[in-house]
């Protein structure tokens, strides 16, 4: 990589960070001014300051619902990660099993599994277990599928080399296939992180007495649009936190594997 002149480098940095921040500020200010000038009713679109102020009375309620949604999303995500990796490893043990099951996994990935949400409440009731199972169910497929793809794509030359130097099946598996599959596993995990939150929120839409999805629906029915936005901000924070944790875990894993 060519080294840039310091002044140009500063300019580059300014445009990669300055431009997005500038745009963000511009949008917020425009939003505020337009809502105030056009006297848009709060129910339709509250101004950014209205949203900020609306946090004031509902902080406790919001924290309660955020904990419900956040902890459930996290547990579902971890369960999906463990189950996805385990199932992928088990199915990849035999080529016959892999080829028999793989197309079905792809099919399951493509169908609108969201439609199954009401069935889970029907089977498991309206409490947390049904939402947890549903969120685990929909975030399981990206992990399992990505891991299966990764295990199948391990470098053929590396596998042959291992066999040539007399490594047994297990040694090859742990020394070659698992490391090769890790990047795929993590890209599956990143999709699962968003799917877990989607699963919990949709579960809360359908039937719940707590959680941010329930709260958003409740605020919507009362026309408290500012509260919808406030809850949405918290929900985004949860989603990004889960995604951030995955990215961090990926970095740590990469550093550890190289060392």
């Amino acid at each position: 990589m060519k080294r840039l002149h310091p002044a140009i480098a500063r300019c580059e940095g300014l445009s990669t960070f300055g431009l997005p921040i500038g745009l963000g500020v511009f949008i917020l200010v425009a939003w505020q001014v337009i809502v105030r000038r056009a006297a848009v009713p709060q129910v339709i679109l509250p101004a950014p300051t209205d949203i900020l102020l609306s946090f004031d009375g509902i902080l406790g309620v919001l924290a309660h619902h955020a904990w419900a949604s956040g902890s459930e999303s996290f547990v579902a995500f971890i369960l999906a990660a463990i189950l996805g990796a385990t199932v992928a490893i088990l199915l990849s043990m035999s080529k016959l099993v892999y080829e028999a099951i793989y197309p079905h996994m792809v099919l399951f990935q493509l169908i609108p599994k969201i439609a199954l949400a009401p069935l889970f409440t029907f089977w498991l009731g309206i409490a947390a277990p049904s939402r947890l199972t549903y969120a685990t169910f929909i975030s399981f497929f990206p992990v399992a599928l990505a891991m299966m793809t990764g295990l199948a794509r391990a470098d053929a030359n590396a596998l042959r080399l291992c066999r040539a130097v007399g490594a047994n099946h297990w040694q090859t598996f742990f020394a070659v296939q698992i490391p090769y599959s890790l990047p795929y596993f993590f890209s599956g995990l990143k999709i699962a992180a968003t799917m877990a939150v989607i699963g919990i929120v949709v579960g809360e839409f359908i039937s719940a007495k707590e959680g941010l999805g329930y709260y958003i629906l409740y605020a919507g029915s009362r026309g408290e649009t500012a509260h919808i936005f406030a809850a949405m901000i918290v929900l985004c924070a949860i989603g990004l936190l889960l995604y951030g944790v995955t990215v961090m875990a990926e970095r740590i894993m990469q550093a550890w594997w190289r060392g």
């Binding site: 099919l107 969201i114 439609a115 069935l119 990004l240």
Partner: protein, 275 residues
């Protein structure tokens, strides 16, 4: 007894090994599907599970065969929302992605936001669309567009930026204009990315439509599922889910088909690795 059982299995394995592509890729998964359907059908009966908890495939088929009218009536709005929603999201996404890439600095300003919007649970905004657009079709349609829009924008931007630098430089050296470079280099390089984005977008549009129908509860297969669940009519729930799967797979299939046609036209075979 054991050898009797293992003999056909061994024979099957030999047959499958003999015809690697067709046998393994088509027959084997089809066999698994058949076994699962049979086990489902007879397992439900043997375990004496009530029809209300889980419906066997034959009961689901009965519902579809006996109520084509009501299922068709609820399918039409769902199909309309899914097709229109996906179409709008695809065209708007490609237009926005392309104009952002063409405009240099706007791209830098927007990119982080589009990336973040891709990651956040947008599904939670469904009630907002009801407030803005009511409980009718427009609100479900625009919610589906909102859900399906971002993958297309991101993939269009990534694709247009992924053009081989050497190819671009070669064209410029041959005094190709900016538009010529765009048409003959950037777009062909972008197409596999755009199609990968469109495939994600097709599934997201379905999520948007179904969640929209859950929340507005007016019409469509999503509404039918909610209604049938509350009435404990499980076979009807399964029938509606089966139809939704058909619609979702048809939408995805047409994108995949369009990709193959475009690749044939351009004379390139680029495989996108998606899972």
């Amino acid at each position: 007894m054991a050898s009797n059982f293992s003999e056909p299995v061994k024979h099957l394995a030999r047959v499958l090994r003999g015809t690697p592509t067709f046998g393994r890729r088509v027959v084997l998964p089809a066999l698994v599907a058949a076994v699962i359907l049979l086990a489902w059908e007879y397992g439900v009966g043997l375990a004496h599970l009530p029809l209300m908890i889980i419906a066997p495939p034959s009961a689901v088929w009965d519902v579809i065969a006996n109520n084509p009218g009501i299922l068709m009536q609820q399918s039409l709005p769902t199909i309309e929302e899914a097709v229109l929603g996906f179409g709008l999201a695809a065209s708007l996404g490609i237009i926005l992605g392309t104009s952002l890439v063409l405009s240099g600095s706007l791209q830098k300003a927007f990119y982080p936001y589009i990336l973040v919007l891709q990651l956040i649970p947008k599904v939670a905004l469904a009630p907002l669309f009801i407030i803005w657009l009511g409980v009718g079709l427009p609100s479900r349609l625009w919610f589906a567009v909102f859900m399906a829009f971002f993958p297309v924008v991101i993939s269009t931007m990534t694709g247009l930026m992924s053009a081989d630098r050497n190819a671009v430089r070669l064209c410029e050296a041959l005094t190709a204009s900016r538009w010529q470079v765009f048409y003959s280099v950037r777009i062909p390089y972008a197409l596999p990315h755009i199609f990968a984005g469109l495939k994600i977008s097709a599934t997201m549009a379905m999520i948007g439509v179904v969640v929209g129908e859950f929340v507005t509860a007016q019409e469509g297969l999503g509404y039918l599922i909610m209604f049938a669940t509350s009435a404990a009519e499980t076979p009807l729930v399964f029938a509606a889910i089966a139809l939704l799967c058909v619609i979702g797979l048809a939408l995805y299939g047409s994108v995949a088909l369009a990709e193959i046609i475009v690749q044939k036209r351009l004379g390139v075979s680029i495989t996108t690795s998606e899972f």
